[in-house]
């Protein structure tokens, strides 16, 4: 869907290029997270895709069209754009904000109104309550919901998101990430997502591109990045707790063993002690935390309807950590650019 080839950009008056010979291919429907320390060029790359920044050389093809041969205004109307500061228009109601691109595209008011209500509902805001309100009446989290709805308005196949949850308090952020994940999966948009938060990258990304000084260091699925970091830089970047992060990607159901000899006892315990059961869709990181707090090494895995899926033992959690994990590499602190 997005093919970046040999992209280079150096800003006037800077010593080294912000983007340095980058080649990256993003498949249709994927969430590609661009991540790296500040100054790694992640935002610049994102902004080149909708021509907010003009590259020095290289090419970017979005959906078979070379962006340099597409009118920037027309290009941007086909690409959703969400920024950390949101940038809602304060003089327009929530409905008018969401209607921005559809109106630029000349949709009929009837169609615009239907779409606005549809999107407000999608991002979990009651259209009856919020349609006519103004941005200043919203909380930070609500503003970004509107920001996302506005970007989705004309149903663009591609979305660019620059740290959309960066300025939102941690509790609301987690909540928005979860909801956003659901919406993204349902809509199958191709998304370029910029963040500096590795946990967010692992949670939301189908693929993670780790960048350093404008070049790609590693590009792969979150599990791959966590289990086999290509070098000390990536390893240090994902953190020493990468084993735990990996556990967060595996559901309890996936690691559960079918009813084993110990099952009877576990099931018996589970029926008495709710702290010894875990939901099937919970992840192994939560399962591990629960084992540690309740002082047990066996949890009964249950589905939401209450049926038992199997049992989860500390040994099976540990086995998951070891799958594919390379021998530890000595981390060279100089490898981490400030």
């Amino acid at each position: 869907m997005i093919d970046i080839t040999d992209l280079t950009k150096q800003f006037a008056g800077t010593e080294r290029p912000a983007v340095n010979g980058l080649t990256l291919s993003i498949a249709e429907g994927d969430v590609c997270v661009l991540i790296g320390p500040s100054g790694c060029g992640k935002t610049t790359i994102m902004r080149i895709i909708n021509r907010m920044i003009e590259p020095d050389s290289g090419s970017v093809v979005v959906g078979n069209r070379d962006i340099m041969r597409t009118d920037p205004v027309e290009l941007r109307r086909r690409i959703g754009y969400v920024i950390q500061q949101i940038g809602l228009f304060p003089h327009w109601s929530i409905a008018e904000n969401i209607a921005t691109v559809p109106r630029l595209l000349g949709w009929t008011e009837q169609r615009v109104a239907t779409r606005v209500d549809e999107l407000l509902t999608l991002v979990g805001m009651d259209p009856g309550i919020y349609r006519e309100r103004f941005p200043r009446a919203l909380s930070g989290g609500q503003k970004q919901r509107v920001g996302v709805a506005r970007a989705l308005a004309a149903d663009p196949p591609v979305m660019l998101m620059d740290e959309p949850f960066g300025a939102i308090d941690p509790i609301t952020r987690t909540h928005l990430q979860d909801e956003f994940l659901k919406i993204l999966r349902a809509l199958k948009k191709t998304i370029v997502f910029v963040t500096h938060d590795i946990d967010e990258a692992i949670k939301l990304g189908d693929r993670i591109a780790i960048l350093r000084e404008g070049a790609l260091v590693q590009y792969g699925a979150p599990e791959t990045i966590l289990t086999s970091p290509v070098d000390a830089f990536v390893e240090a970047f994902v953190g020493t707790d990468r084993a735990l992060k990996r556990l967060a990607l595996i559901s309890a159901a996936a690691a559960a063993e079918p009813i084993a000899p110990a099952a009877f006892a576990a099931e018996l315990l589970a029926s008495i002690r709710p702290s010894r059961t875990i939901l099937a869709e919970a992840n192994l990181r939560d399962a591990l935390a629960q084992m540690l707090t309740s002082g047990t090494d066996t949890l009964a895995v249950v589905a939401t309807d209450g049926t038992r899926c199997g049992i989860l033992t500390l040994a099976s959690v540990r086995a998951q950590i070891q799958v594919g994990t390379r021998d530890s590499v000595v981390v060279d602190s100089r490898a981490i650019a400030p």
Binding site: P90, T100, L104
Partner: protein, 215 residues
């Protein structure tokens, strides 16, 4: 006593009074209209051009410090006397506040809002029309209000260079020590200034977009 005499002067010379009032309003209205037509587009333009902005704003700031009478006096040797030179001088007087406020108002619009607008595919003209001007409007209009009041009061001085208006009664009144005649010019001129301020204050509130009005 003086007020009654002034009233008597007015009713005995209605033609002269209404002619002067009409001239006064035409002079100020014309000058304000011209100044808006020049300073608003210029202000919008320089707000997007850093280098031009510096020059324009410096000139405007110098212009703002010039006394009204001095502007009129400076115009006379070049353009002579009458309605047109007065109109020109008053327009000059009204330009700085409108230009400075338009520029400041547009520059104050949050850069993130403009970035979002551009990123969604608005053209430069659409950004100005749909985003910058509506958000800048209250501050822009404050400049227009200042200019309007300045022009309406400044128009009294047009009489010195033969521009006519209510100032004619004042200058004649002073020259002949005729206080009633002086008041026939001074009172309506004062009321006109106050009325203009009120009118533009009301318009300013009316033109402020709902989402930007104080709750």
């Amino acid at each position: 006593m003086l007020l009654i005499e002034a009233w008597q002067f007015l009713v005995t010379h209605p033609g002269r009074f209404f002619h002067a009032l009409a001239t006064h309003i035409m002079l100020s209205g014309g000058a304000l209209g011209l100044a808006i037509a020049i300073a608003v587009p210029l202000g919008l333009w320089v707000a997007h051009r850093r280098r031009a902005a510096f020059t324009a704003i410096t000139i405007a700031n110098i212009g703002r410090t010039l006394p009204s009478l001095a502007v009129l006096a400076l115009v006379m040797p070049i353009l002579g006397t009458g309605f047109a030179p007065s109109l020109f001088a008053l327009t000059l007087l009204a330009l700085p506040p409108i230009l400075i406020n338009t520029y400041t108002a547009v520059r104050q619009v949050d850069v993130d809002i403009v970035d979002a607008a551009r990123g969604m595919g608005m053209t430069g003209a659409e950004i100005v029309r749909k985003v910058e001007v509506p958000i800048a409007l209250p501050v822009m209009f404050a400049g227009i209000r200042t200019a309007a009041v300045q022009v309406v009061s400044g128009a009294v001085l047009a009489s010195y260079i033969g521009g006519g208006g209510l100032g004619d009664f004042i200058t004649a009144g002073i020259a002949m020590m005729a206080m009633p005649q002086l008041l026939v010019g001074a009172i309506p001129a004062t009321l006109l200034s106050l009325g203009t301020d009120r009118l533009f204050g009301g318009l300013q509130k009316l033109l402020t977009p709902r989402g930007l009005r104080p709750e």
